[in-house]
Symmetry: C2
DNA sequence: CAGTATCCGGGCGGATACTG
DNA sequence: CAGTATCCGCCCGGATACTG
């Protein structure tokens, strides 16, 4: 890697932290990686308050990594899933998993 | 990826967030990736308060991803650098950079 | 230079109650 | 079910001053 790449790397990390830096963002993406999930389903799996979940999902949606789909049942169902932009980020998760397998207990 | 791998992945993400979840941890690693740096050097580059930097470095050191080396000059010099555990994490940074190049502006 | 000590304010995130 | 609306405590992180 040359110095220019290093700069790009640091900048990318910074921006990525702005997008995913919240306490739950990474874990939400991790959940959605296994498939679309509904609001309360995510809440249950993660043990997160509705407020925090709502805030985090809005942020992720605004950054184009998650998409919200309303299914007109009664009562209404809402599914959250990963966009292609978000799915591309799974390469990062993959490396995290490999690192975890090697270094975390 | 099978469901077991998914579980490992989510757990790894969770633990990684515990280690690197702080506001500055990733950026500090990003800085150290370019080579060992001194305390105030990091502070200047990142625009971070001494307290936050001190806290973050202690945490990273406790988790074995950063090492602190005292050089007995006068006044004393302290260098922070990445351990092999931390260096392995650069594969994650590499993927972050690639993602950034593709999706960020 | 490399921190520690102290104070301080804002905001994040949880708990709870409520709505369509 | 899928949120919104409040309220609130806590802790993170910045600013500043000080030490060896």
């Amino acid at each position: 890697m040359n110095p220019l790449d290093d700069k790009i790397c640091v900048q990318a990390i910074k921006k990525i932290m702005e997008i995913f830096g919240g306490k739950w963002s990474f874990q939400i993406l991790g959940e959605l990686h296994t498939g679309a999930k509904r609001f309360n389903e995510l809440g249950r799996n993660l043990g997160i308050s509705t407020k925090s979940l709502s805030d985090a999902l809005k942020n992720l949606e605004a950054n184009g990594v998650v998409i919200r789909t309303v299914i007109p049942t009664t009562p209404v169902t809402v599914e959250y899933s990963i966009t292609s932009k978000g799915r591309d980020f799974e390469r990062v998760f993959y490396e995290m998993r490999e690192w975890g397998k090697k270094w975390l207990v």
